[in-house]
C-alpha cells in the first residue's frame, strides 16, 4: 500500500516552475495552444474574469493565478497536474457534476465563454460529444471528493475504479511521490484517455484495471506526453507485474494493453491546503 500525505504540499511549491503572472488570450488561441499551456489556462479557470471594455464583454479574458496555480509545472505532466487540480475547484467541478447528473450546465461565472470551455474539455476527452463524462472525466470528478475527505482527516483507500484512478493521479501529482513512478502514471493516464476517446466504460473494471488497444494508448502517449514508441514499450517492460499485453486473436494486430493500478492509501490530514 502506498500512501500520500497532504502535508508535503509545501514541497510542491518549491518544485513547480513559474508561469506568466498575467496575460490575455482569446478563446481561439486557447484552443490551439500546446497542451501544457492549455492546461495552465484551464487550471485557473475558476478565477478568471471577463474583460469589460466600453461596457461590453469581449471574447477574451484575463486571469490572476491563485498561489497554487501560479506554480504549475512546465513538464509533460503539467497539463495532467493542472487539469486534475482544476477539477477540484468550484466551477469545473460543478460543471463535471452537472454532466454526471445530467443537469443543466452552470453558466453564470463564465457567461458566454462556457462553450469554449466545453470545447476545451472535449479536446481533453473529459466529456464526450453528448456532454457526458468519459472515464477520464469520472476520474477527475472523483478527485474533489478525495481531496475533501483527505482534508477532513480520514485515511482511506479508493473503492471504485474511478476513486482508485483519482487517488493515483493525485498521489503522484500532489506530492511527487517517488514510490509511484512518473512513467507508470503517464501510461496509466494514456490508457485512461485512450478509453475516454470512445467513452468506453467497458474498458475499465471495478478495480480500475484498464484494457484498451495498444495502438490507441500509444497514440495518446505520443500526443499528450510527447513520448516515443520506444519509450512507451520500455516503460511497459519496466512494470511486468502491473502492465502486460493481452494478445489479439487476429494475427498482425497489437492486442490490448492491460494496466492495473496499485491500491493507493490516502492518508488524510486536517490541514487547509490553500
Amino acid at each position: 500500500m502506498e500512501s500520500f500525505d497532504l502535508r508535503k504540499m509545501d514541497i510542491i511549491m518549491k518544485l513547480i516552475a513559474r508561469i506568466p503572472r498575467s496575460s490575455i488570450f482569446t478563446a481561439y488561441e486557447i484552443e490551439n495552444f500546446p497542451s501544457q499551456i492549455k492546461s495552465r489556462v484551464l487550471g485557473i479557470l475558476h478565477c478568471f474574469r471577463l474583460l469589460k471594455r466600453k461596457e461590453r464583454f469581449r471574447r477574451s479574458y484575463k486571469y490572476e493565478p491563485t498561489p497554487i496555480f501560479s506554480k504549475i509545472p512546465t513538464s509533460t505532466m503539467g497539463w495532467l497536474y493542472t487539469i486534475s487540480h482544476a477539477a477540484t475547484m468550484d466551477y469545473l467541478h460543478s460543471l463535471l457534476d452537472s454532466c454526471e447528473k445530467k443537469k443543466p450546465l452552470p453558466k453564470p461565472v463564465l457567461g458566454y465563454l462556457y462553450y469554449d470551455i466545453l470545447k476545451f474539455l472535449r479536446s481533453f476527452f473529459v466529456i464526450d460529444k453528448n456532454r457526458e463524462l468519459t472515464p477520464f472525466g469520472r476520474v477527475l470528478y472523483e478527485a474533489r471528493g478525495i481531496i475533501k475527505r483527505a482534508m477532513k482527516g480520514d485515511s482511506f483507500a479508493g473503492k471504485t475504479a474511478f476513486e482508485i484512478g483519482a487517488a493515483l493521479l493525485l498521489k503522484h501529482l500532489l506530492i511527487f511521490d517517488d514510490e509511484l513512478s512518473e512513467d507508470f502514471v503517464k501510461i496509466y493516464a494514456s490508457a485512461l484517455i485512450a478509453c475516454s476517446v470512445n467513452s468506453s466504460f467497458l474498458s475499465i473494471d471495478s478495480l480500475g484495471t484498464i484494457s484498451v488497444r495498444v495502438e490507441q494508448v500509444l497514440e495518446v502517449f505520443e500526443k499528450f506526453f510527447k513520448g516515443s514508441g520506444d519509450e512507451f514499450f520500455r516503460t511497459i517492460r519496466k512494470f511486468p507485474e502491473r502492465i502486460f499485453i493481452e494478445a489479439d486473436k487476429t494475427p498482425g494486430r497489437m492486442g490490448f494493453l492491460v494496466i492495473s493500478p496499485p491500491k493507493v492509501m490516502v492518508r488524510g490530514c486536517a490541514v487547509n491546503v490553500k
Binding site: A247, K249, V258
Partner: protein
C-alpha cells in the same frame, strides 16, 4: 465448505479432464481447485448479495481476461456459489456459445435450465401442474431437434410463462454467457447475433429480475461495444455500462502455491501419500516448474504432470529409501546419471541425443601437456552440442581449475572442429551456489567461454539433497519405462528442463531439408487407420481416447493422413454438425495433429 472427498476414480477423471485442456464441467470439482482470486470472489459475492436482496430488474457482471486465464472456471465458481446458497433464490443458467449450434438450441437450453431449476423452488401442486403442462407444450419429452424452425417464436412465449411462475415465487435469474470470444470470428458471430435476437425478445417479454454474466476477452468486449446501438446490447446498454467488472489477471506466486497445495491435498486424500513427508523435493520441483507459468490451466496441468511422474515411481523411491544407508553413493550417483538416465533424453525430446564422451580425450587448454575428457554431450538436431560434466561432493566445495579445464578443453576442441557448442556443470551434493572464484571467472572471460558455461546446482537443504540422491539412485532398480520419468524429475529439480527447452527452440532444424525427409518417412504410415495407429504407437496422446476416435470416425476422419491434413477448424465444424455435446476445441485438435506427426516421425525413425 463440505469436506467430502473425491473418490480415486473421480480424481483420475479430473486429472484427465484437466490434462486434456478442457475446463471441468462438474461443479463438484470446482471447489477443490478454485483458489486465489480474492478480488473476483469479493466482487462476485457483493454482486450476488445486492442482486438477491434488492429489487434490481437488470444487472450485468463482466468477467474479463485473456484466453486460458480462468473465466469459465470463475463462472463455474459463481454457479456453485449460488447453488450452495439456496436463500438467494437465484437460478443460474450457464450457456456457452461454443456448445450452442443455433439460436433455437439456445432458447431450448434456456428453457430447460429454467424449467428444471425451478422445480426445486416450487412446492404448490397447482404450480407444478402448470409447469408440467408448459414443459409438455415445449416438448420436453421429445428431443431438441424436434422443435421446428417455424415454431421458433413459440418458445419465447412459453419462456415468458415460465418466468412468470418463477417471478411469482420470487426467484431471480442469473444467465451466464460464456465463450463470447466467438464474436470476433465472423462465422460464429452470426450465430451469436441470432441468439442475441432471442435474448432481446426474452428480455422484452419477461419481467423477472435478471443478472447477466458475460465471460469475455478484451477483444470480445470491443465487439460488444460496437453493438451498443442495436438489438439486445442496446437494450441492456445502460446496465452494461455501469456493470461490475472484474479483470482476471495472471496468477501471482501465492496464488500458484495455493493451487498447488490444493492439488497435493487432493492427491493426499485419494492416494494416502503426503508428499510433504514422503518426498519434499517434489514441492520444490513443482515450484521450479511453475516459474514461467502464469495461467491457471497451465499451472494445474503442469502440477499434475509432475505429480503423475512422481506417482509412477513412488514405490521405487520408497524401496530405495530403505536401502540408501547401505550404499556408498558418491560414484554411484555420477555413473547412474550419465550411464542410465541421460541417455533417456531422446525419449523426452526425440530430436536430442546423448553421446558418452568418457573415452574421448581433448587437448587441455590450461595445461598444454595434458588431455581432458568430459562425461558426455547432448546433440541437437542442427548439430549444436551441449557438453555435460557431472560432479558430486559430500562436503561444501567449489570447483577446482581442473574441472573448469575439462569444459574449456571440450569447448575449444569443438570450436576447432567448427561445431557450435556450450557446456554445463551438473553439481550434485553440497556444492556452492557460486562455485567459481573471481580468478576463475576472469579466466573464463579471457578465453571467451564465460557466456558458454552454465552451472546447475541441486536445491539447497539437506532433505532435498537426500531426496535427489534417492531419485537418481532409484534408476538402478527402475523398469526401463520408468527411467524417463525419473530423468524428467531430475531435470526439473536441477532446473535444467526450461534451459533445454529454450535451447531446443533455438536449435530446431531449418524447414528445408528436414521437412522433406520427414514427408518421406511418413509415407508408409499414412494409410493406416487412426484407431490402429494409436493402438500400435507407444506414446499415448492425451484426450484422444476411444470415445473421441469414435466421434472422429463418424465425422469421416478415419485415416491418419486425413486427420493430419484436414484443417482443425473443419474437423471441429464437422463434429459440431454431428450434434455432439462435448467437442474438442480446434486448438486441441491442432495439438493432437502435431503430436501424431511427432509420433509418426519418431516411430518411423525407430523402424
Amino acid at each position: 465448505m463440505s469436506s467430502s472427498i473425491l473418490s480415486k476414480e473421480e480424481f483420475e477423471e479430473l486429472w484427465d479432464i484437466l490434462a486434456s485442456g478442457d475446463s471441468p464441467m462438474n461443479l463438484r470439482y470446482i471447489k477443490y481447485l478454485f483458489s486465489g482470486r480474492s478480488d473476483a470472489v469479493q466482487i462476485i459475492s457483493n454482486v450476488l448479495d445486492t442482486f438477491s436482496q434488492k429489487n434490481i430488474p437488470l444487472e450485468v457482471l463482466i468477467i474479463q481476461g485473456e484466453r486460458g486465464v480462468g473465466k469459465t472456471f470463475t463462472a463455474f465458481y459463481l454457479m456453485s456459489y449460488i447453488k450452495e446458497r439456496a436463500f438467494y433464490q437465484i437460478l443460474p443458467v450457464y450457456i456457452s456459445f461454443d456448445r450452442i449450434s443455433s439460436s433455437l438450441d439456445f432458447v431450448s437450453k434456456l428453457f430447460y435450465d429454467i424449467a428444471f431449476g425451478l422445480i426445486q423452488y416450487i412446492e404448490e401442486e397447482s404450480y407444478r401442474e402448470q409447469l408440467r403442462s408448459i414443459m409438455e407444450r415445449f416438448g420436453v419429452d421429445i428431443t431438441y431437434a424436434k422443435i421446428n424452425p417455424h415454431e421458433a417464436d413459440a418458445p419465447i412465449g412459453l419462456l415468458s410463462e415460465l418466468c412468470k411462475i418463477a417471478d411469482d415465487h420470487g426467484v431471480k435469474l442469473c444467465i451466464i454467457l460464456d465463450e463470447l470470444d466467438l464474436l470476433a470470428d465472423a462465422t460464429s458471430a452470426q450465430k451469436i447475433y441470432a441468439c442475441f435476437e432471442r435474448l432481446l425478445g426474452f428480455q422484452n417479454n419477461t419481467r423477472i429480475p435478471k443478472l447477466y454474466v458475460f465471460c469475455a476477452t478484451s477483444r470480445a468486449l470491443e465487439e460488444i461495444e460496437n453493438l451498443r446501438g442495436s438489438g439486445f446490447i442496446s437494450r441492456i446498454w445502460s446496465a452494461l455500462k455501469n456493470a461490475k467488472r472484474i479483470y482476471l489477471s495472471q496468477l501471482n506466486d501465492t496464488e500458484k502455491k495455493e493451487i498447488t497445495e490444493k492439488i497435493l491435498e487432493i492427491y493426499k486424500k485419494c492416494y494416502g501419500i503426503d508428499v510433504n513427508i514422503a518426498f519434499p523435493l517434489l514441492i520444490k520441483i513443482i515450484e521450479k516448474s511453475l516459474k514461467e507459468r502464469y495461467l491457471p490451466r497451465e499451472v494445474i496441468t503442469e502440477t499434475i504432470e509432475v505429480i503423475k511422474e512422481y506417482n509412477s515411481i513412488k514405490d521405487l523411491l520408497e524401496r530405495i529409501r530403505m536401502q540408501t544407508s547401505s550404499i556408498s553413493v558418491g560414484r554411484d550417483i555420477d555413473s547412474i546419471l550419465k550411464n542410465k538416465l541421460l541417455p533417456q533424453i531422446s525419449r523426452l525430446f526425440p530430436d536430442i541425443k546423448f553421446q558418452r564422451l568418457a573415452n574421448i580425450m581433448f587437448p587441455s587448454v590450461l595445461f598444454p601437456d595434458k588431455t581432458r575428457n568430459i562425461d558426455g554431450e547432448f546433440v541437437f538436431p542442427d548439430d549444436f552440442r551441449l557438453g555435460i560434466e557431472i560432479k558430486y561432493s559430500e562436503t561444501k566445495a567449489a570447483l577446482d581449475n581442473i574441472a573448469i579445464d575439462q569444459l574449456m578443453s571440450y569447448l575449444s576442441a569443438r570450436q576447432k572442429e567448427n561445431i557450435k557448442a556450450e557446456a554445463i556443470f551438473i553439481l550434485l551434493g553440497k556444492y556452492d551456489r557460486n562455485p567459481f572464484t573471481t580468478d576463475q571467472l576472469d579466466l573464463l572471460r579471457n578465453y571467451g567461454f564465460y557466456e558458454k558455461i552454465h552451472v546447475f546446482v541441486s536445491p539447497i537443504g539437506g532433505i532435498f539433497d537426500q531426496n535427489l540422491r534417492q531419485l537418481i539412485l532409484s534408476a538402478r532398480i527402475a523398469e526401463p519405462t520408468q527411467l524417463s520419468d525419473i530423468l524428467l524429475l531430475v531435470l526439473r529439480a536441477l532446473d535444467i528442463l526450461p534451459f533445454l527447452r529454450k535451447l531446443r527452440e533455438e536449435h530446431k532444424v531449418g524447414r528445408g531439408e528436414g521437412e522433406e525427409e520427414r514427408v518421406q518417412l511418413i509415407q508408409p504410415i499414412r494409410n493406416i487407420k487412426l484407431r490402429d495407429f494409436l493402438k500400435k504407437a507407444k506414446g499415448k496422446i492425451k484426450g484422444l481416447g476411444q470415445k473421441t476416435i469414435e466421434k472422429l470416425e463418424k465425422a469421416g476422419v478415419e485415416y491418419v493422413e486425413e486427420f493430419i491434413n484436414t484443417d482443425a477448424n473443419q474437423i471441429f465444424q464437422k463434429l459440431k454438425e454431428m450434434g455432439y455435446r462435448s467437442i474438442p476445441k480446434p486448438y486441441k485438435i491442432r495439438e493432437w495433429q502435431k503430436a501424431i506427426q511427432e509420433l509418426i516421425y519418431t516411430q518411423a525413425r525407430l523402424l
